[in-house]
């Protein structure tokens, strides 16, 4: 595929960038050859995105040089980058939802555009790469996977010769991911280059020609993909050996913890986003609910945790009818909740660690005399113990929570929910966007809770997570629940099929 003696299309030398005294990139050398797929692997905060945003002109490096086709270049803005044939698809898409696909693609390009001609060109271009999109569709109506295609087609339309994809499969189903990888291959065959930023080992191994591993702002190695394996890469990435995959054992015949009967819930726009859902979670059991984002999982989770009132049906916790109960009562009844959006829902960003660690328990007598006067010292001691026990990394207890990394915020939320000795844990996308080290940690914590008899309801769009943790698996599709099935009786492909078609294969 790649002629190894070819001169690189892109070369970055000694790139250094500091943010407030912390080196996000420390003398990084990095190169990409024409027609190469290069994976940029590293944990969150390793400096992958910073390096690519320097390349894309969003940051100016403190030191270092960039060469494109052997010539030194200065990239001061994304416009400069595009002129050099470098384009980037960000994790959060830069599209205007009310514009058509076509309008989004020509947005910001100089000159007049005949939209009909452009649409024709877009159609041809997208078909030739196997990325069919309807140029006339309203962008906001498209599913996430389609929106990503629009971003990619836009880059191709602008004539990108090097495309940077930032965590491209984070939002995709297995089928969509596979088709994205096919596209990446076809782009490389044309002699163009692709950089995939990722923290998933399998993805790096599956798609790339070479892998560069970053750790704490430094490049620790570049390996030809065929000469390396998951074990070596994870060691390079984390700096130590990870323990092997976590296994699950079955435990039948315990009493019921959560029972949901014929539950229907209205979504944001008043339509039923969750229709006639029934299931049960027993104590000490993990029920995994898989599904493509936006199929009603969030709404269902909100209804169970008291953030949204159900339209119909019944929820019982430990045989008590708790339908329509508010969060405070549910917390008292033994519910713990790790919400989907950890920064928007799970904590108050402006609060410090001490304050966030007692959210939901701030009226308990251990933290407030007669439920009113805060016991500041008790709060602080509790925070000190918790931060140590759960290895939450922060500059200090008085740090505002919003400056913590996603992994540390998630640890904080888990620590808080766990310390409460709950009976039921509802965890929604608990590891989304976390790096391997943190994911391992979150998984162990959840399994540990389960061993102590806590019932766990896990919502996740990451199928490998659902499979490695769950005793039983259900699928949400268009607001309806399929299953649950015992996890021994289904496989990833079967569940993936249900996620996209709504029927068993």
């Amino acid at each position: 595929m790649v002629v190894e003696t070819q001169p690189p299309f892109l070369e970055m030398r000694g790139i250094t960038k500091a943010f407030g005294g912390i080196l996000a990139n420390d003398r990084i050398d990095f190169d990409v050859r024409p027609g190469e797929v290069h994976a940029l692997l590293g944990e969150n905060g390793a400096g992958k995105t910073t390096l690519m945003e320097i390349l894309y002109g969003l940051y100016t490096p403190d030191a270092g040089e960039i060469y494109v086709e052997g010539k030194q270049v200065q990239i001061h803005s994304p416009l400069d980058a595009m002129r050099l044939g470098i384009d980037m698809v960000h994790q959060s898409f830069m599209l205007i939802p009310v514009f058509s696909v076509c309008e989004n693609i020509v947005l910001g390009m100089a000159g007049r555009h005949d939209l009909r001609q452009t649409a024709e060109k877009i159609r041809e271009l997208s078909q030739s790469f196997g990325l069919e999109v309807d140029p006339m569709a309203r962008t906001g109506d498209l599913p996430v996977g389609m929106q990503q295609r629009v971003e990619i087609v836009r880059a191709l339309y602008r004539g990108a010769r090097l495309l940077v994809l930032d965590e491209p499969t984070a939002v995709l189903t297995p089928i969509e991911s596979a088709s994205l990888m096919r596209f990446v291959r076809s782009m490389a065959l044309e002699g163009r280059s692709v950089i995939i930023i990722t923290h998933k080992l399998e993805e790096a191994l599956e798609a790339s020609d070479r892998v560069a591993v970053l750790r704490r702002g430094r490049k620790v190695a570049t390996r030809p993909t065929r000469d390396t394996d998951a074990r070596e890469l994870s060691r390079l990435m984390v700096g130590r050996e990870l323990e092997s995959a976590i296994g699950r054992r079955h435990d039948e015949g315990r009493s019921s913890c959560l029972a949901v009967e014929h539950l229907s819930v209205r979504g944001e726009h008043g339509a039923l986003a969750c229709k006639d859902v029934s299931f049960e979670v027993r104590c000490g059991e993990i029920l995994g609910v898989a599904g493509v984002t936006g199929n009603g999982q969030s709404v269902l989770a909100e209804a169970i945790t008291g953030l949204r009132r159900p339209a119909d049906g019944r929820v019982s916790l430990l045989e008590v009818d708790v339908t329509g109960w508010r969060p405070r009562a549910l917390i008292r009844a033994g519910m713990a909740h790790v919400p989907e959006d950890r920064k928007a829902t799970g904590c108050v960003g402006a609060f410090n660690l001490v304050e966030n660690l007692i959210l939901g328990r701030h009226r308990e007598s251990s933290f407030a005399q007669r439920g009113l006067i805060l016991r500041r010292r008790a709060m602080r001691e509790f925070a000190e113990r918790t931060v140590q026990k759960f290895d939450i990394r922060a500059a200090g207890l008085d740090t505002a929570t919003e400056v913590l990394s996603g992994g540390n915020v998630q640890k904080l939320i888990l620590a808080r929910e766990l310390q409460r000795n709950p009976k039921l844990l509802v965890a929604v996308e608990p590891t989304r966007g976390l790096d391997v080290g943190a994911i391992e940690y979150v998984h162990r914590t959840i399994l540990g809770m389960c061993d102590r008899g806590v019932a766990v309801l896990l919502f996740s769009s990451d199928l490998s997570e659902v499979f490695s943790l769950s005793d039983r698996i259900a699928v949400m599709y268009h607001g309806r629940l399929l299953g649950p099935f015992p996890s021994t009786e289904v496989d990833i492909e079967g569940i993936g099929y249900m996620m996209t078609r709504g029927i068993a294969a």
């Binding site: 250094t16 909740h337 928007a344 407030a368």
Partner: protein
């Protein structure tokens, strides 16, 4: 003296960047505040010079008018009390992200309610009279905030609009009452009868007019501080203000918090109004609010929504307006001149808040990099056996 080598910023490529999430540090805030006051006074000086007024004499008159002798000081403190109380009311609401700008209406409602109570059941001794007045002031202000609070909590109707409209209702209702049903004293004068002595606030500094209402304001400041930072209620208020969704997730009832905070906010503005009745005027009259209008909001914001900060801001604004009267007598500058300076302070602080988020980046190799490098080679050496 050592020679200072100037490091010309212009010698390097410079880039100014706005960090959106960056909150200015405490020392930076103090610096912003101080330089805003100085800049405003400098521009004031410039304007005076244009108007051919002696700048030094004018500012001297301003300061001595506010603090120069005990009478002036008392006048300043008397003006501080209502500003502080109403400012605390605003603070409580804004801390919860509830924009109650109806402090004027709630102030008047507190004044009205306490006047009515004082006139009708006020023939009591001071030991009952003072608490009676405090309760009626609190109740009046809270009642005036009740309707906007319910509208917001139950139907989500924007409290900014409703509280603003309630201001007008209060202003014109008082107008009507003091010229009509509640009118007392000389015919045609828009004021009520005087309150019986039992419900007038006692003087706390003999020989002056400083009344117990000032003490009340100081106590309120400490109480609000304790409430916001040392109770679970304050915790909930701040949580709702920063992130209502997370607060709800943490078991806080948004409705209850909104209603509670609005009532509390109104109650403190009402307390301010009551203080003016029981401590200063001893009757309800047109313009009892002393032309404050939105000043308590400015005071609350300048005090960075911190009770003690609000205290300082209230004192500063009171001093400026009291001193301005003296400035008028001494140099003949209209006392409304001070509004220019007050407005300039606000503008400069707003600009400072923006500038405080900017950082200047210089693209020169920082010594820090070589330092970390050294440190690392050191540790590497030490690790080797």
């Amino acid at each position: 003296m050592t020679t200072i080598r100037l490091h010309p910023l212009g010698a390097y490529p410079v880039r100014v960047r706005r960090q959106r999430d960056r909150v200015p540090s405490r020392s930076r805030r103090v610096a912003i505040f101080a330089s805003s006051v100085i800049l405003a006074l400098l521009i004031g000086a410039l304007l005076m010079a244009i108007m051919r007024v002696n700048v030094l004499t004018a500012y001297k008159a301003l300061i001595s008018g506010a603090f120069g002798n005990s009478d002036n000081l008392v006048a300043t403190l008397l003006k501080t009390a209502p500003l502080l109380l109403a400012g605390l009311g605003v603070l409580v609401a804004f801390r919860a992200g509830i924009y109650n700008i109806g402090n004027q209406g709630q102030f008047l409602a507190g004044a009205l309610c306490s006047t009515w109570v004082g006139l009708h059941i006020g023939n009591v001794s001071g030991a009952f009279g003072v608490p009676l007045m405090i309760v009626s002031g609190l109740a009046g202000g809270a009642l005036w905030a009740l309707v906007p609070a319910l509208l917001r909590a139950v139907w989500g109707i924007n409290e900014i609009i409703t509280t603003l409209m309630f201001n007008y209702v209060a202003v014109y209702s008082i107008d009507y009452l003091v010229t009509g049903p509640m009118q007392g004293g000389p015919l045609g004068v828009p004021e009520t009868d005087f309150l019986p002595p039992g419900v007038q606030f006692p003087i706390i500094a003999p020989g002056t007019q400083l009344h117990a209402g000032f003490l009340l304001a100081i106590i309120a400041m400490v109480l609000i501080y304790a409430l916001i930072f040392h109770t679970s209620i304050g915790y909930e208020i701040r949580a709702v203000g920063h992130n209502p969704r997370a607060a709800q997730y943490g078991g806080v009832s948004l409705r209850r918090t909104i209603v509670g905070v609005m009532l509390l906010s109104g109650a403190f503005s009402g307390l301010a109004g009551m203080g003016e009745i029981a401590g200063v005027h001893h009757q309800l009259l047109d313009g009892v609010d002393g032309g404050f209008e939105y000043t308590p909001i400015v005071v609350a914001l300048l005090g960075a929504l911190n009770p003690f900060g609000v205290g300082i801001a209230a004192l500063g604004f009171a001093a400026l307006s009291v001193g301005a009267d003296n400035m008028q007598t001494v140099v003949g500058l209209p006392s409304s001149f001070i509004s220019i300076i007050q407005a300039l302070i606000v503008l400069f602080i707003l600009a400072g808040e923006y500038l405080g988020r900017l950082t200047i980046e210089r693209r020169v190799p920082t010594p820090q990099q070589s330092e970390t490098e050294d440190a690392e080679t050191h540790t590497a050496r030490e690790v080797k056996p």
